[in-house]
Amino acid sequence: MDEERVIIPIGPQHPALKEPMNFMLKVEGEKVLEAIPNLGYNHRGIEKAATVRTYIQNLYLAERICGICSIAHVQCYAQGVEKLLEMEIPPRAQYVRLILSELNRLHSHLLWVGVAAHEIGFDTLFMYLWRDREIVMDTLELITGNRVSYGFTMLGGVRRDISPDMAARVKKEMKTVRDRTQYYKKMSSNERSILKRTQGVGILKPQDALALCACGPTLRASNIKWDVRREDPYLAYNEIPFNVVTSDGCDVLSRMIVHYDEVIEATNIIEYALDHMPSGSFREKVTRRIPAGEVVSRVEAPRGEDIHYIKSNGTDKPERFKVRAPTLGNIPAVCKMLSDSYIADVPIILAGIDPCFSCTDRVTFVKGEMGKGWIWTQEELRRYANRWYQQR
Protein backbone atom coordinates (compact mmCIF):
# COMPACT_ATOMS: atom_id res chain seq x y z
CA MET A 1 0.00 0.00 0.00
CA ASP A 2 1.35 3.33 -1.04
CA GLU A 3 1.08 5.69 1.89
CA GLU A 4 1.56 8.88 -0.04
CA ARG A 5 -1.50 8.34 -2.12
CA VAL A 6 -4.78 9.51 -0.74
CA ILE A 7 -8.13 8.18 -1.76
CA ILE A 8 -10.94 10.66 -1.83
CA PRO A 9 -14.37 9.19 -1.94
CA ILE A 10 -16.65 11.46 -3.91
CA GLY A 11 -20.16 10.52 -2.99
CA PRO A 12 -22.55 8.95 -2.37
CA GLN A 13 -23.61 12.02 -0.51
CA HIS A 14 -21.65 14.77 -2.09
CA PRO A 15 -22.60 18.18 -3.27
CA ALA A 16 -20.95 17.76 -6.63
CA LEU A 17 -23.25 14.92 -7.49
CA LYS A 18 -26.85 15.85 -7.27
CA GLU A 19 -27.54 12.15 -7.14
CA PRO A 20 -25.94 9.52 -4.98
CA MET A 21 -23.07 7.89 -6.69
CA ASN A 22 -19.72 6.89 -5.50
CA PHE A 23 -16.46 7.68 -7.16
CA MET A 24 -13.23 6.60 -5.60
CA LEU A 25 -10.47 8.89 -6.66
CA LYS A 26 -6.92 7.84 -6.24
CA VAL A 27 -4.96 11.05 -5.93
CA GLU A 28 -1.38 12.11 -5.58
CA GLY A 29 -1.18 15.69 -4.41
CA GLU A 30 -3.75 17.48 -6.46
CA LYS A 31 -3.55 15.04 -9.35
CA VAL A 32 -6.07 12.27 -9.92
CA LEU A 33 -4.44 9.08 -11.02
CA GLU A 34 -7.57 7.10 -11.42
CA ALA A 35 -11.28 7.17 -10.91
CA ILE A 36 -13.45 4.21 -10.08
CA PRO A 37 -17.18 4.55 -10.32
CA ASN A 38 -19.55 2.69 -8.10
CA LEU A 39 -23.14 3.00 -9.17
CA GLY A 40 -26.12 1.34 -7.67
CA TYR A 41 -27.16 3.81 -5.04
CA ASN A 42 -30.07 4.70 -7.18
CA HIS A 43 -30.99 1.21 -8.24
CA ARG A 44 -34.68 0.68 -7.76
CA GLY A 45 -35.46 -2.32 -9.92
CA ILE A 46 -37.77 -0.64 -12.36
CA GLU A 47 -37.29 -3.24 -15.08
CA LYS A 48 -38.61 -5.99 -12.86
CA ALA A 49 -41.47 -3.89 -11.58
CA ALA A 50 -42.50 -3.07 -15.13
CA THR A 51 -43.21 -6.70 -15.85
CA VAL A 52 -45.92 -6.93 -13.20
CA ARG A 53 -47.74 -3.81 -14.26
CA THR A 54 -50.02 -2.98 -17.12
CA TYR A 55 -48.88 -0.96 -20.09
CA ILE A 56 -50.87 2.00 -18.83
CA GLN A 57 -49.28 1.93 -15.41
CA ASN A 58 -45.85 1.57 -16.97
CA LEU A 59 -46.40 4.84 -18.75
CA TYR A 60 -46.06 6.57 -15.41
CA LEU A 61 -43.26 4.32 -14.27
CA ALA A 62 -41.31 5.19 -17.42
CA GLU A 63 -41.89 8.85 -16.74
CA ARG A 64 -40.32 8.42 -13.33
CA ILE A 65 -37.18 6.66 -14.51
CA CYS A 66 -35.82 10.15 -14.59
CA GLY A 67 -37.43 13.37 -13.56
CA ILE A 68 -35.32 15.51 -15.83
CA CYS A 69 -35.71 13.60 -19.06
CA SER A 70 -39.21 12.43 -18.20
CA ILE A 71 -40.59 13.36 -21.60
CA ALA A 72 -37.83 11.51 -23.41
CA HIS A 73 -38.31 8.25 -21.51
CA VAL A 74 -42.06 8.25 -21.75
CA GLN A 75 -41.86 9.15 -25.43
CA CYS A 76 -39.49 6.28 -26.05
CA TYR A 77 -41.76 3.88 -24.21
CA ALA A 78 -44.98 5.08 -25.80
CA GLN A 79 -43.40 5.01 -29.24
CA GLY A 80 -42.36 1.41 -28.69
CA VAL A 81 -45.78 0.30 -27.53
CA GLU A 82 -47.43 2.12 -30.43
CA LYS A 83 -45.12 0.27 -32.81
CA LEU A 84 -46.21 -3.01 -31.24
CA LEU A 85 -49.80 -1.94 -31.86
CA GLU A 86 -48.79 -1.02 -35.42
CA MET A 87 -50.52 2.30 -35.10
CA GLU A 88 -49.55 5.78 -36.16
CA ILE A 89 -50.49 8.51 -33.76
CA PRO A 90 -52.29 11.53 -35.25
CA PRO A 91 -49.94 14.08 -36.85
CA ARG A 92 -51.01 16.81 -34.45
CA ALA A 93 -50.11 14.61 -31.49
CA GLN A 94 -46.72 14.04 -33.08
CA TYR A 95 -46.08 17.74 -33.24
CA VAL A 96 -47.27 18.33 -29.69
CA ARG A 97 -45.00 15.57 -28.46
CA LEU A 98 -42.13 16.96 -30.46
CA ILE A 99 -42.61 20.40 -28.96
CA LEU A 100 -42.70 18.87 -25.52
CA SER A 101 -39.53 16.87 -26.21
CA GLU A 102 -37.72 20.00 -27.24
CA LEU A 103 -38.98 21.96 -24.25
CA ASN A 104 -37.68 19.11 -22.16
CA ARG A 105 -34.32 19.43 -23.85
CA LEU A 106 -34.35 23.16 -23.22
CA HIS A 107 -34.91 22.90 -19.52
CA SER A 108 -32.51 20.02 -19.15
CA HIS A 109 -29.73 21.80 -21.01
CA LEU A 110 -30.17 25.06 -19.14
CA LEU A 111 -30.17 23.08 -15.94
CA TRP A 112 -26.97 21.39 -16.95
CA VAL A 113 -25.09 24.53 -17.86
CA GLY A 114 -26.22 26.00 -14.56
CA VAL A 115 -24.93 23.01 -12.65
CA ALA A 116 -21.67 23.15 -14.59
CA ALA A 117 -21.28 26.80 -13.61
CA HIS A 118 -21.90 25.86 -10.00
CA GLU A 119 -19.25 23.15 -10.20
CA ILE A 120 -16.60 25.63 -11.26
CA GLY A 121 -17.66 27.89 -8.40
CA PHE A 122 -19.48 30.40 -10.53
CA ASP A 123 -22.68 30.71 -8.58
CA THR A 124 -23.82 33.92 -10.17
CA LEU A 125 -24.05 32.34 -13.60
CA PHE A 126 -25.79 29.37 -12.01
CA MET A 127 -28.39 31.66 -10.49
CA TYR A 128 -28.95 33.54 -13.74
CA LEU A 129 -29.29 30.37 -15.78
CA TRP A 130 -31.74 28.83 -13.37
CA ARG A 131 -33.68 32.04 -13.24
CA ASP A 132 -34.04 31.97 -17.00
CA ARG A 133 -34.78 28.28 -16.94
CA GLU A 134 -37.88 29.15 -14.96
CA ILE A 135 -39.24 30.70 -18.15
CA VAL A 136 -39.10 27.27 -19.77
CA MET A 137 -40.63 25.69 -16.67
CA ASP A 138 -43.48 28.20 -16.84
CA THR A 139 -43.99 27.26 -20.47
CA LEU A 140 -44.15 23.60 -19.60
CA GLU A 141 -46.53 24.42 -16.78
CA LEU A 142 -48.65 26.36 -19.20
CA ILE A 143 -48.92 23.47 -21.64
CA THR A 144 -49.14 20.53 -19.28
CA GLY A 145 -50.14 22.03 -15.96
CA ASN A 146 -47.19 20.58 -14.08
CA ARG A 147 -43.54 21.32 -13.71
CA VAL A 148 -41.66 18.05 -13.69
CA SER A 149 -43.79 14.96 -14.15
CA TYR A 150 -46.25 15.91 -16.78
CA GLY A 151 -48.41 12.85 -17.27
CA PHE A 152 -48.94 14.31 -20.69
CA THR A 153 -47.91 11.67 -23.17
CA MET A 154 -50.55 8.97 -23.40
CA LEU A 155 -50.58 5.79 -25.44
CA GLY A 156 -52.10 6.91 -28.72
CA GLY A 157 -51.49 10.61 -28.39
CA VAL A 158 -51.31 13.36 -25.82
CA ARG A 159 -53.61 14.39 -23.05
CA ARG A 160 -54.22 17.99 -23.96
CA ASP A 161 -53.97 20.09 -27.05
CA ILE A 162 -51.91 23.23 -27.49
CA SER A 163 -54.33 26.09 -28.02
CA PRO A 164 -53.43 29.06 -30.28
CA ASP A 165 -53.22 31.22 -27.14
CA MET A 166 -50.65 28.93 -25.62
CA ALA A 167 -48.74 28.75 -28.89
CA ALA A 168 -48.46 32.51 -29.05
CA ARG A 169 -47.16 32.71 -25.52
CA VAL A 170 -44.72 29.87 -26.00
CA LYS A 171 -43.35 31.58 -29.08
CA LYS A 172 -42.86 34.79 -27.19
CA GLU A 173 -41.01 32.99 -24.40
CA MET A 174 -38.81 31.15 -26.89
CA LYS A 175 -37.49 34.43 -28.16
CA THR A 176 -36.50 35.50 -24.67
CA VAL A 177 -34.82 32.17 -24.00
CA ARG A 178 -32.90 32.36 -27.26
CA ASP A 179 -31.70 35.89 -26.61
CA ARG A 180 -30.58 35.06 -23.11
CA THR A 181 -28.81 31.90 -24.27
CA GLN A 182 -27.00 33.78 -26.97
CA TYR A 183 -25.84 36.25 -24.38
CA TYR A 184 -24.65 33.49 -22.03
CA LYS A 185 -22.89 31.73 -24.86
CA LYS A 186 -21.01 34.87 -25.77
CA MET A 187 -20.23 35.53 -22.15
CA SER A 188 -19.04 31.99 -21.43
CA SER A 189 -16.72 31.89 -24.37
CA ASN A 190 -15.15 35.22 -23.41
CA GLU A 191 -15.06 35.19 -19.63
CA ARG A 192 -11.49 34.41 -18.63
CA SER A 193 -12.21 32.59 -15.41
CA ILE A 194 -14.65 30.23 -17.14
CA LEU A 195 -12.21 29.54 -19.95
CA LYS A 196 -9.47 28.81 -17.47
CA ARG A 197 -11.57 26.17 -15.78
CA THR A 198 -13.08 24.52 -18.85
CA GLN A 199 -10.70 24.84 -21.78
CA GLY A 200 -8.61 21.74 -22.29
CA VAL A 201 -10.24 20.05 -19.32
CA GLY A 202 -11.67 16.56 -19.60
CA ILE A 203 -10.40 15.81 -23.07
CA LEU A 204 -12.20 13.04 -24.93
CA LYS A 205 -10.71 12.45 -28.35
CA PRO A 206 -13.08 11.60 -31.18
CA GLN A 207 -11.68 8.10 -31.61
CA ASP A 208 -12.03 7.39 -27.88
CA ALA A 209 -15.56 8.76 -27.88
CA LEU A 210 -16.47 6.37 -30.68
CA ALA A 211 -14.71 3.38 -29.19
CA LEU A 212 -16.23 3.86 -25.75
CA CYS A 213 -19.72 4.18 -27.25
CA ALA A 214 -20.36 7.67 -25.91
CA CYS A 215 -23.53 9.38 -27.01
CA GLY A 216 -25.41 12.64 -27.04
CA PRO A 217 -23.81 16.02 -26.43
CA THR A 218 -20.69 14.31 -25.07
CA LEU A 219 -20.15 12.66 -28.44
CA ARG A 220 -21.08 15.77 -30.38
CA ALA A 221 -18.63 17.86 -28.38
CA SER A 222 -15.96 15.46 -29.60
CA ASN A 223 -16.83 16.56 -33.10
CA ILE A 224 -18.85 13.56 -34.18
CA LYS A 225 -22.06 14.37 -35.94
CA TRP A 226 -24.41 11.79 -34.60
CA ASP A 227 -27.90 12.46 -33.40
CA VAL A 228 -30.76 10.00 -33.16
CA ARG A 229 -33.14 12.70 -34.33
CA ARG A 230 -31.26 12.81 -37.60
CA GLU A 231 -30.02 9.23 -37.95
CA ASP A 232 -33.17 7.45 -36.89
CA PRO A 233 -35.94 10.05 -37.07
CA TYR A 234 -39.02 9.61 -34.95
CA LEU A 235 -42.07 11.79 -34.44
CA ALA A 236 -41.97 14.54 -37.03
CA TYR A 237 -38.25 15.17 -36.94
CA ASN A 238 -37.82 14.35 -40.60
CA GLU A 239 -40.22 17.17 -41.50
CA ILE A 240 -38.43 19.83 -39.51
CA PRO A 241 -35.20 21.51 -40.57
CA PHE A 242 -32.60 21.58 -37.84
CA ASN A 243 -28.85 21.37 -37.46
CA VAL A 244 -26.92 18.74 -35.59
CA VAL A 245 -24.60 20.87 -33.52
CA THR A 246 -21.01 19.81 -33.06
CA SER A 247 -17.92 21.34 -31.61
CA ASP A 248 -14.33 20.27 -32.09
CA GLY A 249 -12.81 21.24 -28.74
CA CYS A 250 -13.38 17.80 -27.16
CA ASP A 251 -13.26 19.48 -23.73
CA VAL A 252 -15.73 20.76 -21.17
CA LEU A 253 -15.93 24.14 -22.83
CA SER A 254 -17.07 22.64 -26.10
CA ARG A 255 -19.62 20.56 -24.20
CA MET A 256 -20.91 23.81 -22.78
CA ILE A 257 -21.00 25.39 -26.23
CA VAL A 258 -22.82 22.37 -27.65
CA HIS A 259 -25.42 22.67 -24.94
CA TYR A 260 -25.92 26.37 -25.61
CA ASP A 261 -26.18 25.75 -29.33
CA GLU A 262 -28.66 22.96 -28.83
CA VAL A 263 -30.79 25.26 -26.71
CA ILE A 264 -30.79 27.80 -29.51
CA GLU A 265 -31.53 25.04 -32.03
CA ALA A 266 -34.38 23.72 -29.87
CA THR A 267 -36.04 27.12 -29.65
CA ASN A 268 -35.95 27.29 -33.44
CA ILE A 269 -37.44 23.81 -33.72
CA ILE A 270 -40.23 24.72 -31.32
CA GLU A 271 -41.06 27.89 -33.23
CA TYR A 272 -41.06 26.04 -36.54
CA ALA A 273 -43.21 23.25 -35.15
CA LEU A 274 -45.72 25.68 -33.66
CA ASP A 275 -46.03 27.40 -37.03
CA HIS A 276 -46.47 24.18 -38.96
CA MET A 277 -48.70 22.22 -36.63
CA PRO A 278 -51.23 20.19 -38.57
CA SER A 279 -54.81 20.28 -37.36
CA GLY A 280 -56.85 17.27 -36.39
CA SER A 281 -57.30 15.09 -33.37
CA PHE A 282 -54.58 14.73 -30.77
CA ARG A 283 -55.42 11.39 -29.33
CA GLU A 284 -56.67 7.96 -30.35
CA LYS A 285 -58.13 5.17 -28.32
CA VAL A 286 -55.85 2.28 -27.55
CA THR A 287 -56.67 -1.24 -26.45
CA ARG A 288 -55.37 -2.48 -23.15
CA ARG A 289 -53.92 -5.69 -24.60
CA ILE A 290 -50.87 -5.30 -26.75
CA PRO A 291 -50.16 -7.87 -29.49
CA ALA A 292 -47.15 -10.13 -29.01
CA GLY A 293 -43.89 -9.01 -30.49
CA GLU A 294 -40.71 -7.18 -29.71
CA VAL A 295 -39.56 -3.72 -30.46
CA VAL A 296 -36.48 -1.58 -30.05
CA SER A 297 -37.28 2.05 -29.70
CA ARG A 298 -34.96 4.95 -29.27
CA VAL A 299 -35.06 8.68 -28.92
CA GLU A 300 -32.53 11.44 -28.48
CA ALA A 301 -32.96 12.35 -24.84
CA PRO A 302 -31.35 15.59 -23.70
CA ARG A 303 -28.35 13.58 -22.53
CA GLY A 304 -28.02 11.39 -25.57
CA GLU A 305 -29.36 8.20 -27.02
CA ASP A 306 -32.08 6.61 -24.91
CA ILE A 307 -33.01 3.11 -25.98
CA HIS A 308 -35.87 0.92 -24.79
CA TYR A 309 -36.52 -2.68 -25.64
CA ILE A 310 -40.03 -3.97 -25.08
CA LYS A 311 -41.10 -7.56 -25.49
CA SER A 312 -44.78 -8.27 -25.36
CA ASN A 313 -46.54 -11.62 -25.02
CA GLY A 314 -50.03 -10.55 -25.95
CA THR A 315 -51.31 -9.76 -22.45
CA ASP A 316 -51.76 -6.37 -20.87
CA LYS A 317 -48.37 -6.57 -19.18
CA PRO A 318 -45.01 -6.51 -20.91
CA GLU A 319 -42.79 -9.55 -20.63
CA ARG A 320 -39.56 -7.62 -20.65
CA PHE A 321 -38.91 -3.93 -20.49
CA LYS A 322 -35.33 -2.83 -20.84
CA VAL A 323 -34.04 0.70 -20.54
CA ARG A 324 -30.62 1.99 -21.43
CA ALA A 325 -30.30 5.58 -20.35
CA PRO A 326 -27.69 7.82 -21.96
CA THR A 327 -25.60 8.36 -18.85
CA LEU A 328 -24.61 4.71 -18.64
CA GLY A 329 -23.26 4.89 -22.14
CA ASN A 330 -21.10 7.84 -21.15
CA ILE A 331 -19.58 6.38 -18.00
CA PRO A 332 -16.62 4.61 -19.65
CA ALA A 333 -15.94 7.92 -21.38
CA VAL A 334 -15.99 9.89 -18.14
CA CYS A 335 -13.56 7.47 -16.49
CA LYS A 336 -11.25 8.06 -19.39
CA MET A 337 -11.57 11.82 -18.97
CA LEU A 338 -10.98 11.70 -15.23
CA SER A 339 -7.70 9.87 -15.26
CA ASP A 340 -4.80 12.31 -15.14
CA SER A 341 -6.85 15.35 -14.19
CA TYR A 342 -6.84 17.66 -11.15
CA ILE A 343 -9.09 17.13 -8.14
CA ALA A 344 -10.46 20.58 -8.70
CA ASP A 345 -11.52 19.53 -12.17
CA VAL A 346 -13.29 16.37 -11.09
CA PRO A 347 -16.69 17.96 -10.45
CA ILE A 348 -16.78 19.75 -13.75
CA ILE A 349 -15.62 16.69 -15.67
CA LEU A 350 -18.19 14.53 -13.96
CA ALA A 351 -20.80 17.10 -14.65
CA GLY A 352 -19.47 17.33 -18.18
CA ILE A 353 -21.31 14.25 -19.36
CA ASP A 354 -24.47 15.67 -17.86
CA PRO A 355 -24.85 12.71 -15.59
CA CYS A 356 -28.24 11.50 -14.57
CA PHE A 357 -27.72 8.51 -12.40
CA SER A 358 -31.33 7.96 -11.65
CA CYS A 359 -31.79 7.05 -15.28
CA THR A 360 -28.72 4.93 -15.28
CA ASP A 361 -29.17 3.09 -12.08
CA ARG A 362 -32.50 1.57 -12.66
CA VAL A 363 -30.72 -1.73 -13.09
CA THR A 364 -27.06 -1.22 -13.43
CA PHE A 365 -24.12 -1.58 -11.16
CA VAL A 366 -20.68 -0.60 -12.09
CA LYS A 367 -17.72 -1.24 -9.97
CA GLY A 368 -14.28 -0.34 -11.12
CA GLU A 369 -13.73 -1.59 -14.59
CA MET A 370 -10.49 0.38 -14.81
CA GLY A 371 -8.06 -2.18 -13.60
CA LYS A 372 -4.72 -1.15 -15.03
CA GLY A 373 -1.95 -0.08 -12.69
CA TRP A 374 -4.25 -0.22 -9.74
CA ILE A 375 -2.39 -1.27 -6.65
CA TRP A 376 -5.38 -2.03 -4.47
CA THR A 377 -7.80 -4.80 -5.07
CA GLN A 378 -11.47 -4.10 -5.08
CA GLU A 379 -11.87 -5.78 -1.74
CA GLU A 380 -9.20 -3.67 -0.10
CA LEU A 381 -10.71 -0.59 -1.57
CA ARG A 382 -14.10 -1.42 -0.19
CA ARG A 383 -12.65 -2.14 3.22
CA TYR A 384 -10.80 1.11 3.16
CA ALA A 385 -13.96 2.98 2.31
CA ASN A 386 -15.89 1.26 5.06
CA ARG A 387 -13.22 2.03 7.58
CA TRP A 388 -13.13 5.61 6.48
CA TYR A 389 -16.80 6.03 6.95
CA GLN A 390 -16.83 4.31 10.30
CA GLN A 391 -14.31 6.73 11.67
CA ARG A 392 -16.55 9.63 11.05
Binding site: L59, E134, G145, N146, S149, R160
Partner: protein
Protein backbone atom coordinates in the same frame (compact mmCIF):
# COMPACT_ATOMS: atom_id res chain seq x y z
CA UNK B 1 -20.23 40.12 -16.91
CA UNK B 2 -19.74 43.11 -14.62
CA UNK B 3 -22.17 44.95 -16.83
CA UNK B 4 -24.73 42.19 -16.34
CA UNK B 5 -24.24 42.31 -12.57
CA UNK B 6 -24.84 46.03 -12.44
CA UNK B 7 -27.84 45.68 -14.72
CA UNK B 8 -29.30 43.16 -12.30
CA UNK B 9 -28.66 45.50 -9.42
CA UNK B 10 -31.00 47.96 -11.01
CA UNK B 11 -33.52 45.36 -12.12
CA UNK B 12 -36.44 44.20 -10.02
CA UNK B 13 -35.76 41.08 -8.00
CA UNK B 14 -36.94 37.90 -9.73
CA UNK B 15 -38.14 36.31 -6.52
CA UNK B 16 -41.78 35.72 -5.84
CA UNK B 17 -42.53 36.16 -2.17
CA UNK B 18 -44.32 32.85 -2.29
CA UNK B 19 -45.87 31.90 1.02
CA UNK B 20 -47.04 35.46 1.55
CA UNK B 21 -48.09 36.33 -1.94
CA UNK B 22 -49.63 33.43 -3.83
CA UNK B 23 -49.99 33.35 -7.55
CA UNK B 24 -52.82 31.71 -9.40
CA UNK B 25 -52.10 28.02 -9.97
CA UNK B 26 -51.83 27.10 -13.65
CA UNK B 27 -54.68 25.47 -15.42
CA UNK B 28 -54.30 21.71 -15.37
CA UNK B 29 -52.20 21.58 -12.22
CA UNK B 30 -52.90 18.31 -10.54
CA UNK B 31 -53.12 18.68 -6.79
CA UNK B 32 -55.16 16.87 -4.20
CA UNK B 33 -57.79 14.71 -5.84
CA UNK B 34 -61.48 14.93 -5.13
CA UNK B 35 -63.98 12.17 -5.75
CA UNK B 36 -67.62 12.88 -6.22
CA UNK B 37 -69.10 9.81 -4.57
CA UNK B 38 -72.59 10.57 -5.86
CA UNK B 39 -71.38 9.83 -9.38
CA UNK B 40 -69.13 6.86 -8.52
CA UNK B 41 -70.38 3.56 -9.90
CA UNK B 42 -67.86 1.47 -8.02
CA UNK B 43 -66.28 -0.10 -11.10
CA UNK B 44 -62.80 -0.12 -9.57
CA UNK B 45 -61.01 0.96 -12.71
CA UNK B 46 -59.21 3.72 -10.85
CA UNK B 47 -57.89 1.21 -8.34
CA UNK B 48 -56.83 -1.08 -11.17
CA UNK B 49 -55.04 1.59 -13.16
CA UNK B 50 -53.38 3.54 -10.37
CA UNK B 51 -49.63 2.98 -10.81
CA UNK B 52 -48.93 3.60 -7.14
CA UNK B 53 -51.80 1.84 -5.41
CA UNK B 54 -52.96 5.06 -3.86
CA UNK B 55 -56.66 4.35 -4.08
CA UNK B 56 -58.28 1.69 -1.97
CA UNK B 57 -61.80 0.42 -2.34
CA UNK B 58 -63.68 -0.60 0.76
CA UNK B 59 -66.67 -2.72 0.00
CA UNK B 60 -67.98 -3.65 -3.42
CA UNK B 61 -69.87 -2.17 -6.33
CA UNK B 62 -72.09 0.83 -5.89
CA UNK B 63 -71.90 0.57 -2.12
CA UNK B 64 -68.12 0.89 -2.00
CA UNK B 65 -66.31 3.67 -0.21
CA UNK B 66 -62.99 4.96 -1.49
CA UNK B 67 -59.90 5.79 0.45
CA UNK B 68 -57.12 7.88 -1.11
CA UNK B 69 -53.59 7.83 0.26
CA UNK B 70 -52.11 11.15 -0.70
CA UNK B 71 -48.69 10.08 0.51
CA UNK B 72 -48.71 7.43 -2.24
CA UNK B 73 -50.48 9.43 -4.91
CA UNK B 74 -48.26 10.60 -7.76
CA UNK B 75 -50.81 13.05 -9.09
CA UNK B 76 -50.48 11.46 -12.52
CA UNK B 77 -54.14 11.82 -13.40
CA UNK B 78 -54.64 8.32 -14.75
CA UNK B 79 -57.58 7.64 -12.40
CA UNK B 80 -59.40 10.67 -13.70
CA UNK B 81 -58.64 9.44 -17.23
CA UNK B 82 -59.87 5.94 -16.58
CA UNK B 83 -62.99 6.77 -14.61
CA UNK B 84 -65.99 6.02 -16.84
CA UNK B 85 -68.34 8.25 -14.86
CA UNK B 86 -65.83 11.12 -14.60
CA UNK B 87 -66.27 11.42 -10.87
CA UNK B 88 -62.58 12.03 -10.09
CA UNK B 89 -61.33 15.57 -10.35
CA UNK B 90 -57.94 17.03 -9.49
CA UNK B 91 -58.09 20.21 -7.49
CA UNK B 92 -55.25 22.72 -7.66
CA UNK B 93 -54.49 22.41 -3.99
CA UNK B 94 -50.85 21.37 -3.78
CA UNK B 95 -49.83 22.58 -0.31
CA UNK B 96 -50.15 19.20 1.29
CA UNK B 97 -47.15 19.16 3.62
CA UNK B 98 -48.04 17.48 6.86
CA UNK B 99 -46.33 16.38 10.03
CA UNK B 100 -48.20 13.13 10.24
CA UNK B 101 -48.65 10.63 7.47
CA UNK B 102 -52.06 9.62 8.80
CA UNK B 103 -53.48 13.01 7.96
CA UNK B 104 -52.63 12.38 4.34
CA UNK B 105 -55.30 9.72 3.95
CA UNK B 106 -58.67 10.97 2.83
CA UNK B 107 -61.80 8.89 2.94
CA UNK B 108 -64.65 9.40 0.55
CA UNK B 109 -67.85 7.97 1.94
CA UNK B 110 -71.20 7.62 0.26
CA UNK B 111 -73.90 9.75 1.73
CA UNK B 112 -76.80 7.63 2.70
Amino acid sequence: MEHELLRNLRKKVATEKYPFIKKKPPEGLRGKLIIDMAKCIGCGLCVFDCPAGAIEMIGKGTAADLKVYLDRCHFCGQCAESCPSKCIVYSTEFELANFDKKNLTIEFKRKL
